[in-house]
């Protein structure tokens, strides 16, 4: 099957006072039609920047694509003008953000914000757009749509607002939906509702989803494939089973060990990866993860490992064989 989205050697720079900082360094991944790809990693690993660069919204936030290609249906989004890109946004590719409380414009009604999305890509009369908007709200599980359409964002709860955001994103039947930590700001019951909703919608409208999360639990629930990012690089990539059953990168392994174990004794301290993610301006030499890595060797301090492809998965670690052999007791 041909891929829907192909990110090829993408590097992204951010303008800071002292020049540019590389937020994403040479990443590549694909998304196939109908597939859910999860990008996981700690805060600061470049997940959100990746999503903003696919949407080309980086330019509005002092970022720029330094290198690489983003091929969507064989069109290179990197070469598009903002005007061309405008026709892709919200139409072919949509995004939902992690802050439902602030992501909707406070001074416009839900209806207006939904209809605006529809009419900016489809030439339909206002009345038809209104009906479509109502259908969308019903689709994302909102009741009393006629009342909701006339309400303002502040009259809705966080979970409701995220549903509205999803409705806006789905307005033009996008082929790809990017969900940037869509449930981080919501409480747990709402979180599972939203994830279930996304999964159902994916099957209903046949779209692909790129879900960005720092929560391995969320990834386990919805992902077909997982991309693990660390400090602006992809460190491991594979199917959800490969990643969860047999992590080959020490960082992935650490992330999995950090998931609280429901059946374990409560006194047991939760595992956490030692140290912190490095600042992008002070990246360590060699492998970016080596200062925090249990498997680090002299080689790791000196040179950076490339992504090695094998068995339909990729890993960037000098010692992945040792990691595999060192089975975790889970």
């Amino acid at each position: 099957m041909k891929e829907l989205l192909r990110v090829e050697n993408l590097s992204v720079d951010f303008q800071k006072e002292k020049g540019f900082i590389r937020a994403i360094d040479n990443i590549s991944f694909e998304v196939y039609p109908g597939e859910t790809v999860c990008i996981v990693g700690e805060s600061g690993s470049g997940k959100s920047v990746t999503s903003l660069s696919i949407m080309r919204l980086l330019e509005y936030e002092n970022g720029k694509i330094a290198n690489g290609e983003i091929l969507f249906n064989d069109q290179n989004l990197v070469e598009m003008s903002q005007e061309q890109m405008r026709q892709v946004r919200g139409n072919d590719i949509s995004i939902i953000f992690q802050e439902p409380m602030t992501a909707l414009n406070p001074v416009f009604t839900i209806g207006k914000q939904l209809i605006e999305s529809i009419v900016s890509h489809k030439h339909v009369p206002k009345k038809v757009a209104w009906e479509q908007a109502c259908e969308l709200l019903a689709l994302v599980g909102i009741n009393d749509v006629n009342v909701r359409m006339k309400q303002y964002p502040h009259e809705l709860s966080g979970g409701m607002r995220q549903r509205v955001m999803i409705a806006i994103a789905l307005a033009c039947n996008p082929k790809l939906l990017i969900a940037d930590e869509p449930t981080t700001a919501l409480d747990v019951t709402i979180e599972s509702q939203i994830l279930t909703l996304l999964n159902d919608l994916k099957n209903k409208v046949h779209m692909s989803i790129v879900l960005i999360t720092h929560d391995m639990g969320v990834a386990a629930e919805v992902a077909d494939r997982i991309v693990v990012m660390y400090a602006g690089k992809i460190v491991e990539q594979g199917t959800v089973y490969q990643i969860f059953d047999e992590p080959t990168h020490p960082y992935t392994k650490g992330l999995l060990q950090s998931i609280p174990n429901e059946s374990g004794p409560r006194e047991e301290r939760l595992y956490s990866i030692k140290g912190n993610i490095p600042s992008l301006s002070q990246l360590p030499a060699g492998c970016r993860f080596h200062p925090r890595c249990e498997y680090a060797t002299e080689q790791c301090k000196k040179s950076e490992p490339d992504l090695v492809v094998g068995n339909n998965r990729k890993v960037a670690c000098w010692n992945f064989e040792r990691v595999i052999n060192d089975k975790v007791e889970q």
Partner: protein, 312 residues
């Protein structure tokens, strides 16, 4: 809404009472009085007779009480210096000030908001720097100096515009006469609106909902002029609500330089001639204007920002 209006009315009455009381006492504490403004050769007896006739011999609180009772019945008294009704004297001047205010505020809002947006959306470019520089100049150049310079250039040298008065006869003359006063008044109000719009806009365009609106694929023009501006205008509306009553109460310096018969000159004349009734009358009118403007601003506020439902 009704509850809000009633509450507002109550607050306004208290405010007007306090303002008039302070003005009344301060004015009477100032040395001299209407009688001291009489002809130099008036005798002591004549002065005393005038004072008694005007009721100026009563203690200040009693005179304030009397004035208040009359004022509450809509009678602001007679002007002590001209003998006309105070209301008439104010109504005679007010349209001229209103004319200046309207033009100034309309120009300031249109260009102020526009420059503010240009400045914010082109942050740290030459456009932004030029507009900022212009704003600083406009705010810091004293209006009397600018007025005199403009008169020298446009009236004396070029002879394009009249140097004073409201313009006799044709509408064109009236228009020409108001150009310079309006421009001078705008040099203070326009930069204020520019700066408020700019900073408010800069804050708004970093908000998440602006990113959302871009992500929806709507036109950048719609993002700025609809999504961002609507939010950015909320604080700008409140500053306009402050500027309008300030302009309506008259621009003393500009009106004096251009011989413009507005409220600003009226209050100066009234104070100089110790025309107690006239000063009080102008004070009441100005206070009411401030209150009314604030009330209108609050209503507009609640229309622009749906989060402000529970007014008051």
């Amino acid at each position: 809404m009704l509850q809000f209006a009633i509450k507002r009315l109550g607050q306004s009455i208290v405010l007007i009472l306090i303002v008039t009381m302070i003005t009344f006492f301060l004015m009477n504490l100032a040395p001299g009085g209407p009688s001291s403004m009489m002809r130099m050769d008036a005798t002591e007896e004549e002065r005393a007779a005038i004072s008694e006739q005007l009721g100026l011999d009563d203690p200040i609180p009693i005179r304030y009480g009397k004035w208040l009772i009359d004022a509450m019945q809509g009678d602001l008294g007679l002007s002590l210096s001209s003998g006309q009704e105070v209301t008439d004297r104010i109504l005679e001047r007010f349209p001229f000030t209103l004319q200046l205010t309207m033009w100034t505020i309309v120009l300031s809002i249109i260009f102020g908001v526009l420059f503010g947006i240009i400045s914010a959306t082109n942050r740290n470019t030459w456009k932004d720097h030029t507009i900022n520089f212009g704003s600083v100049i406009g705010l810091s150049v004293p209006s009397f100096w600018l007025a005199i310079m403009m008169i020298l250039l446009f009236s004396v040298q070029l002879k394009w515009l009249p140097s004073s008065g409201v313009g006799e006869g044709s509408l064109l003359d009236q228009f020409k006469a108001s150009i310079m006063p309006v421009v001078i008044l705008s040099t203070a109000t326009l930069p204020t609106i520019v700066r408020f719009t700019r900073s408010s806009m800069l804050e708004v365009i970093t908000q998440n909902y602006i990113r959302t609106s871009r992500a929806k694929g709507i036109k950048e023009r719609t993002v700025i002029y609809s999504h961002a501006l609507r939010n950015a205008l909320i604080p700008v509306i409140s500053i306009i609500g402050v500027l309008i009553p300030r302009l309506l109460s008259g621009a003393v310096i500009v009106e004096s330089v251009f011989g413009w018969p507005g409220m600003g000159r009226l209050i100066v004349e009234a104070a100089q001639s110790r025309d107690y009734n006239l000063v009080m009358g102008v004070t009441v009118i100005v206070t009411v204007l401030v209150v009314v403007c604030n009330f209108i601003v609050d209503i507009i506020y609640s229309k622009v920002d749906p989060r402000v439902k529970n007014m008051g």
